[in-house]
Amino acid sequence: MEVVVAIIVGVLFAVGIYLILTQDLLRIVLGTSLLTHAVHLLLMAMAMLKTGDAPLLGRDAEKFVDPLPQALILTSIVINFGVTAFFLVLSYRAYQKLETTDMDRMRSESSRHRGKKGGRRS
């Protein structure tokens, strides 16, 4: 089971990094989101994928699962939710202001702003 998860984590990491390296802002946001999912899976897999009862007093079970990684993942998901939401809103606003979602064109506009040659065709 760990091996399968490890492969999934690897694939997610690869896809996430590929998306981040593209030029479109929306894809970059999706890429960061995928990367964090990969990391959450990694966190779960690193704490061993065990089956057992919830670690509460009074449960009569042989094995209990470790609650800490789940707590960490939940916290991380919440944080990621906030960051991604903010990133999306910001990208949308940036799109309204700069009228492009292409990172290269944003940059060429900024270098034109500095008085240098744009370099890329627009």
Binding site: L56, L74, V78, G82, A85, F86, L88, V89, Y92, Q96
Partner: protein, 141 residues
């Protein structure tokens, strides 16, 4: 999104919104020792409001819930913080929770926690943040 875009969606959502909200309420209270809790209940409620916004439009949501969602977030944070700091006045460490058993009418003997109040804060904060984001993006079309 024009107003009255889909009559089917509108009529279904009139019912479904309440089912979703009821389920959110259930999740909120069951959260103490089972899957659920303030965060997921908050997302659920925000989802219900989003459904309203999709079926009708943002203005309808504004009319149905006429509050400033930024203030809802702030209120939620304030409730959570106050609950956490309440422990300071009893000489307990920060965030320590208290509980007791009370005889409530209808429900009988019930276990009540200060953690529930904290969760209420989380719930409000999540609803507030999510709705603020949705309204910010959805506002200008």
């Amino acid at each position: 999104m024009s107003k009255g875009s889909d009559i089917f969606l509108q009529n279904v959502s009139k019912v479904v919104v309440f089912i979703v909200l009821a389920f959110a309420l259930y999740l909120f209270f069951t959260g103490h020792s089972s899957p659920g809790g303030g965060f997921i209940a908050g997302l659920m409620s925000a989802g219900a409001l989003l459904l309203l916004a999709l079926a009708y439009d943002i203005e309808t949501v504004r009319k149905v819930v006429p509050v400033d969602f930024k203030l809802v977030t702030a209120a939620g944070l304030l409730i959570a913080l106050c609950t956490g700091s309440g422990a300071l006045f009893f000489g307990e460490p920060f965030l320590k929770h208290a509980f007791g058993y009370f005889d409530l009418p209808l429900l009988g003997k019930t276990e009540l926690h200060t953690a529930l109040i904290f969760d209420l804060g989380v719930y409000l904060a999540v609803v507030g943040v999510t709705m603020t984001i949705l309204l910010t993006i959805g506002e200008d079309n």
